[in-house]
């Protein structure tokens, strides 16, 4: 069936004044979503880069952080932004415990063992969340930023998304500075480059691995608290974002923190603009198409080396 508006689609005609504003709005939305994908990706790329492990449970760490923010809000009326340090520390601890309890035992095992271990952990956490908290969708609608918007002309931007975007930039820069400027960060880099040489240089690589897993958890913990202000919270909520985070990390370059940020932005913009121009049912197809093209041209990702 042909619709009256089909021939007015921005793909086929010159944009009229109003449509310029819509495109501007779409770009703004895409950038904000991109920062959110980046927020989830930073922790993932850290583990990938340092330990060469794909953490399938990354999305579930995000989900646990979102639930933590939700329960802090429901039980103690604590705003998710105030609960952010609690979420960050909690998921840091869960990250360290995951390394000590699971990953440490399988990291030297051949091939896919570590990957399968994180896969099992992800299934366990998802089902545990459903058992403990039911599969109901939950929302935090009354946080200090919920429902607030900033209007720039006719462009409307949600305050929760802006807060998450700013936090995403701060977090990325903080992790980069930590890795580049601190002794622990340099030890992480050394371990990532060559574990055995790092060990010979006196670096306690087991401790470094535990810190890396914890740091990755802390990043996704912060992401969860921020996202809880504007996304639904349910046992499978983390899994949706983690798929796009995997793409973002692979697109930006494995282990490259700056790459994860730009990868996230590319995904956000591609799905927003592509979805608007070509049809919303194709928006994820467009993201994965761009990903396929990028890895054909640069197999190690845009910022990989």
């Amino acid at each position: 069936m042909k619709y009256r508006r089909a021939e007015d689609s921005p793909l086929f005609t010159k944009l009229k004044g109003e449509e310029h504003m819509i495109i501007a709005q779409i770009i703004a939305n895409g950038i904000l979503m991109g920062f959110i994908y980046a927020l989830v990706s930073v922790g993932l790329t850290l583990i990938w880069g340092v330990m060469d492990i794909i953490n399938f449970a990354h999305g579930e760490f995000l989900m646990i952080s979102m639930y933590t923010a939700f329960w802090m809000f429901s039980l103690f009326a604590m705003d998710p932004l105030i609960a952010l340090p609690i979420c960050t520390i909690l998921i840091f601890v869960i990250g360290v415990l995951t390394y000590l309890g699971i990953i440490r035992r399988v990291i030297n095992a051949p091939g896919l063992t570590a990957l399968l271990a994180t896969f099992g952990l992800s299934m366990f956490l998802k089902n545990l969340a459903q058992f403990l908290w039911t599969p109901n969708f939950r929302y935090i609608n009354n946080s200090m930023v919920s429902g607030k918007t900033i209007e720039l002309g006719s462009i409307v931007i949600g305050v929760p998304q802006v807060v998450a975007a700013v936090a995403s930039i701060i977090l990325t820069v903080a992790v980069m500075l930590f890795i580049d400027r601190t002794r622990t960060g340099k030890a992480i880099q050394a371990t990532a480059l060559n574990k055995n040489t790092a060990l010979l240089m006196g670096i306690n690589t087991k401790k470094i691995y535990a810190i890396t897993f914890g740091l990755s958890g802390a990043c996704v913990g912060a992401a969860g608290a921020l996202m809880a202000t504007f996304f639904p919270i349910y046992p499978a909520s983390g899994a949706l974002y983690s798929v796009l985070a995997f793409v973002s990390v692979a697109m930006g370059g494995f282990g490259n923190i700056k790459g994860a940020l730009f990868g996230g932005l590319i995904i956000g913009l591609a799905e927003a603009l592509g979805g608007y121009m070509l049809g919303t049912q194709f928006k994820y197809a467009i993201v994965f198409l761009i990903y396929l093209i990028v890895i054909q041209v640069r197999p190690k990702g845009l910022f990989g080396w």
């Binding site: 619709y3 929302y139 349910y234 796009l244 049809g279 994820y284």
Partner: protein
């Protein structure tokens, strides 16, 4: 190399097991039918201790929140059948224990989880049939009901769908499939009739319509029904379909979709959405100040009472087809009692899909009782030729047409007002007047 190969095989095995579910290991034969009839074919009244039926629902995965509630509704039906409830005398099988024609046999529902995965829905249906269930109910998502009922057809086992609404389900010429809920074909016509009512009585001046739909069996078919009805009838009555906005099943955000809806500037938006997506849409409507004159929802997420819980006052003024409104409980004592049982299990009031799944169990059980047999042919014969009492529906009965569709419209239009689902159309059953147009977001309290 060898160890890598072993690992690879392990991954393949693990993934396959997860996708297929544990039950898939008991693969049912895929050929037919004659040798895999239901276990009992007695012509004499069968005496059994327990009659088993299978229920396939999304108990984990994205739609688990709804699936768990539907299971509770089915369990209420099971409890009513197996207990003695003289106060529910008008509800079939309520006043006596079990199925009286089968020696008061108890009903047992065996639940299976399809996780929203059509493949798994099919394999779980086959597994349940292999276990000897007399009939199947479920499966909520039309995309899962389709393959599951196809499997039931192959084995000659009756399938009574409660809330799956894709009209295509009853257009396949299946002999063992019926559906209680109004399909999206009937619902679409009701939506347009409601808009005409709003235009005539409230001068709503609604002419243009857009459809936002989830890109699966349910959503695509709902969209096709709007296209069909505009072309065949309502276009001539002044309605125009100005655009459609599909979105992916596991959508992470709906910013772009809402911008498209905004740019279409339709007077009314029809939504075919589940609870997670419709909630995201409403949040974005508020953020981007999108307020069409009316938003009408097909049977799905809007009808889930969690919609009101999650969105608070932002949920007000949305409308949709539903078989249940808590505001009507005062007029319907049986429904009030059933709702009480359901609330004791879930802490929430019933909703349309839950009531429809509840009734699917009662219909199947009553048919088995009347047939006095567990034979699929005997049961479906009864299902297709009986008018079932359903005092818990406003229309009071269920009767299936030749295609298996319940021809007595079980639902009406409800609109959320002050956090309650008020019946607003047809006028004779309304509990409140509709609010139209939906107030602008900045003019709400």
């Amino acid at each position: 190399m060898k160890s890598k190969l072993v690992l690879l095989l392990a991954v393949v095995f693990l993934t396959t097991s997860l996708l297929m579910g544990c039950g898939a290991q008991q693969q049912a034969p895929t050929e037919t039918t004659e040798e895999t009839e239901a276990p009992e074919e007695a012509e004499e009244p069968t005496t059994v201790e327990t009659v088993r039926i299978g229920a396939i629902l999304p108990l984990t995965g994205g739609a688990a929140a709804t699936g768990v509630k539907l299971r509770a509704a089915m369990e209420v039906a099971q409890d009513i059948i197996n207990g003695e409830y003289p106060e529910l005398a008008k509800v079939p099988l309520a006043k006596e224990v079990g199925l009286p024609n089968l020696g008061n046999a108890k009903l047992e529902i065996i639940f299976a989880d399809h996780q929203g995965n059509p493949e798994m829905a099919k394999s779980e249906a086959e597994r349940l049939i292999e276990q000897g269930v007399a009939g199947l109910v479920g499966a909520y998502q039309s995309s899962c009901t389709k393959p599951a009922s196809q499997a039931a057809e192959q084995y000659g086992v009756p399938f009574v769908a409660g809330s799956s609404s894709s009209a295509a389900l009853t257009e396949r010429g299946l002999n063992y499939f019926v559906r209680v809920a109004p399909n999206d074909d009937i619902e679409t016509a009701m939506f347009f009739d409601y808009l005409i009512y709003l235009n005539d009585k409230y001068n709503a001046d609604i002419k243009t319509v857009a459809v936002a739909y989830i890109d699966n069996e349910f959503g695509v078919h709902a969209k096709e029904m709007v296209e069909k009805w505009v072309k065949e009838k309502y276009g001539a009555l002044g309605f125009e379909l100005v655009g459609v906005v599909p979105y992916a099943v596991d959508v992470t955000n709906v910013d772009t979709e809402v911008q498209q809806i905004k740019s279409l500037n339709a007077d009314a938006v029809f939504h075919a959405s589940y609870i997670a997506d419709i909630t995201m849409f409403v949040n974005k409507y508020k953020e981007f100040k999108v307020a069409p004159k009316a938003v009408l929802n097909y049977c799905g997420g809007f009808q889930d009472t969690q919609f009101v819980v999650n969105l608070g006052s932002d949920s007000d003024y949305f409308a949709g087809g539903a078989a249940f409104s808590a505001e009507k409980l005062g007029d319907m004592p049986e429904l009030a009692k059933i709702n009480e049982f359901y609330k004791a299990k879930t802490g929430a009031d019933l909703d349309g899909p839950a009531l429809e799944e509840f009734s699917s169990v009662l219909v199947l059980a009553e048919a088995i009782n009347i047939a006095k047999s567990l034979d699929g042919d005997a049961i479906i014969e009864v299902i297709k030729n009986t008018k079932f009492d359903a005092p818990y529906y406003a229309t009071g009965a269920i009767k299936f047409d030749a295609k298996g569709q319940n021809e007595i419209l079980a639902s009406y239009m409800v609109q959320t007002q002050n956090g309650k689902y008020q019946a607003v159309y047809p006028e004779e059953i309304a509990t409140a007047e509709p609010v139209v147009p939906i107030p602008d977001w900045d003019k709400r309290n």
